[in-house]
Symmetry: C2
Subunit: 259 residues, 2 copies
C-alpha cells in the first residue's frame, strides 16, 4: 500500500470543520467519499491540522494509504473530479511508509484576516472578520512579541474534558501588518491548542482597540486562565496557510511563505 | 427633494445584474426595496454602470431623489441596516440637482481577475475566472495596446435589437499584469457596450494562450464583426472598480485607483 500525501485547499464556509462530526458535513467526509468513489475502498485520511467549522485552508496536508492503480501524478485530477467545488487537491506525492500528516508536522502557519474599516464589505465577508473601529498595530505588535516563544497557552485554549495533553506550545512567529483595509495576523507554532489561534486574535483585537493594555498578553500567559482572555475571533478570518515537515520521513514545506 | 449619491459595493454572485429583470433578484430591486422601507416612498435609483448577472462592484455609483429626513451622513448606516449582506453602502453625499449617475459619468474602470494556474481554487472561485493554461502577457499587452483609444467596438458588443446608439467608445486605459497566480486586466473607458469588457477579455485570453495572434485585436476592431471575436469571459472575474465624474454638476472619483 502506498502512503499518499495530498495538499488541499478549501473554503471552510459550509463545512463543520475538517474532522468528521455526527451533524454536518466535514472536509474529511467529502475526501473519504471521493476516495471510496475512486478506489472502491473505505480509506481513512489524516490531516495536519483539524480546522474548525468555517475555517479555510490554502494548504492543508493529508495522507492516506491506497493500493489503487492511480499514479501519484494523477491523484490531484482524480480527486478534483470527485470532490465538491469547495475543496481542491493541489498536489500529491508518495510519502515514506512512516509519514503521518499530523504527527510529523513540525510547524503550522495560520493567517488571520481582519477587515478594518467602518463599513462592512460584501466582497470580504466570507474571508475576513469585519472589525469597524480603529486598531493600534503598535500595541498589537508589542503583545505578539510577548506571545512569541515557548509558553503554557492554557489561557488561549478551550480545554476538552479529559484532555491530558500538555498545553505548552512554541510560537516561533507572531506578527501583524496592514495591507490596504486588511490587517493580517500571522501565527506559526509547533502546534495549536483548540481555539488557540482565534483566542489569541480575539485578545489581540481588544488590545489593538485599546480595551486592554499590550502588557496583558504576558500576564494572561502567566495566569493560564481562559476566563481572563479575550473572546474567540470568528472563524471566517482564519486560514491554515502552511505546514512544515522536518522529520526522518519527510523534509518539505507546503503552502504560503510570508516575507 | 435632495439628490442623493451613494457608492455601493456588492457581491454579484446571486444577482441577475444591477438592473431590474422580470426573473431574478437585481441589485436595483434590493436598493429600491430598502429605500421604500426606510422612507415609505417608491424611489427610483439610477446607476453609473448596468453590471451583468454575476458581475461584482467595488464601487458602483447610484443616485436617487428623496425628501426623507435622513441626513446625508446617516444614509450609509440606514441603507446598510435595510440591505442584504451582499450589498453595502460605502458612502453618501448630496449631489447637485442636475447630477445623474449614468449620464454624468465621464469614465468607468473595470478590473477582470483571471486565476492562472493548473488547478482550480475553491477560495478564488467566486471572484476570478480559472484559466488553467499558460498565458503570454506580452502578447496580451500588445493586443491591449492596439485596443486603446477611440474605436468602433462593434466586434466586442452584443447588439440589442433596435439599439441605435453609437458603438464608438474611447478606451483610455487597457493593461494587464500578474499578481501571484492572478492575472489582472484593467479596462477604463468613457462607456462600455453590452458585454464589451468580457468580450475583450475573452479575445485577450485566446491571444495570451497563443490561439490567435496579438495582431487580431486591431483587425477585429476594423472588421466590426462580433462573430470573429473571442468568447465572452465569465462574469465572476469582472469588477466595476471606479467611476469618474467631471461635469458641471460634479467633479469626483469613486473607487479604486490603479498605479
Amino acid at each position: 500500500m502506498a502512503n499518499i500525501l495530498v495538499v488541499l485547499e478549501y473554503d471552510g464556509t459550509d463545512f463543520c470543520g475538517f474532522q468528521r462530526q455526527p451533524n454536518g458535513l466535514s472536509v474529511q467526509e467529502c475526501l473519504e467519499r471521493a476516495l471510496l468513489r475512486l478506489t472502491g475502498r473505505e480509506t481513512r485520511v489524516v490531516a495536519a491540522g483539524r480546522t474548525d467549522a468555517g475555517v479555510h485552508a490554502w494548504a492543508q496536508v493529508v495522507n492516506f494509504r491506497s493500493s489503487s492503480r492511480i499514479s501519484v501524478a494523477d491523484w490531484p485530477a482524480a480527486l478534483n473530479s470527485a470532490l465538491p467545488a469547495s475543496i481542491a487537491a493541489l498536489e500529491a506525492r508518495e510519502a515514506p511508509e512512516g509519514f503521518h500528516a499530523r504527527r510529523c508536522a513540525k510547524r503550522k502557519a495560520y493567517l488571520y484576516r481582519l477587515l478594518n474599516r467602518p463599513v462592512r464589505s460584501p466582497l470580504e465577508a466570507r474571508y475576513a472578520w469585519h472589525y469597524p473601529r480603529p486598531l493600534n498595530l503598535e500595541s498589537m505588535l508589542q503583545a505578539l512579541q510577548a506571545a512569541r516563544g515557548k509558553h503554557d497557552f492554557s489561557a488561549f485554549a478551550r480545554r476538552e474534558p479529559g484532555d491530558r495533553r500538555s498545553p505548552v506550545r512554541t510560537l516561533s512567529e507572531a506578527r501583524c501588518w496592514r495591507e490596504g483595509e486588511v490587517v493580517n495576523v500571522l501565527l506559526e507554532a509547533d502546534g495549536f491548542l483548540y481555539h488557540m489561534a482565534r483566542s489569541l486574535v480575539g485578545t489581540l483585537v481588544e488590545i489593538g482597540a485599546g480595551a486592554r493594555p499590550a502588557e496583558d498578553m504576558a500576564e494572561l500567559l502567566r495566569s493560564g486562565e481562559r476566563s481572563r482572555a479575550g473572546a474567540t475571533a470568528p472563524p471566517q478570518g482564519l486560514f491554515l496557510a502552511r505546514v512544515d515537515y522536518d522529520c526522518e520521513h519527510l523534509r518539505a514545506s507546503f503552502g504560503r511563505k510570508f516575507e
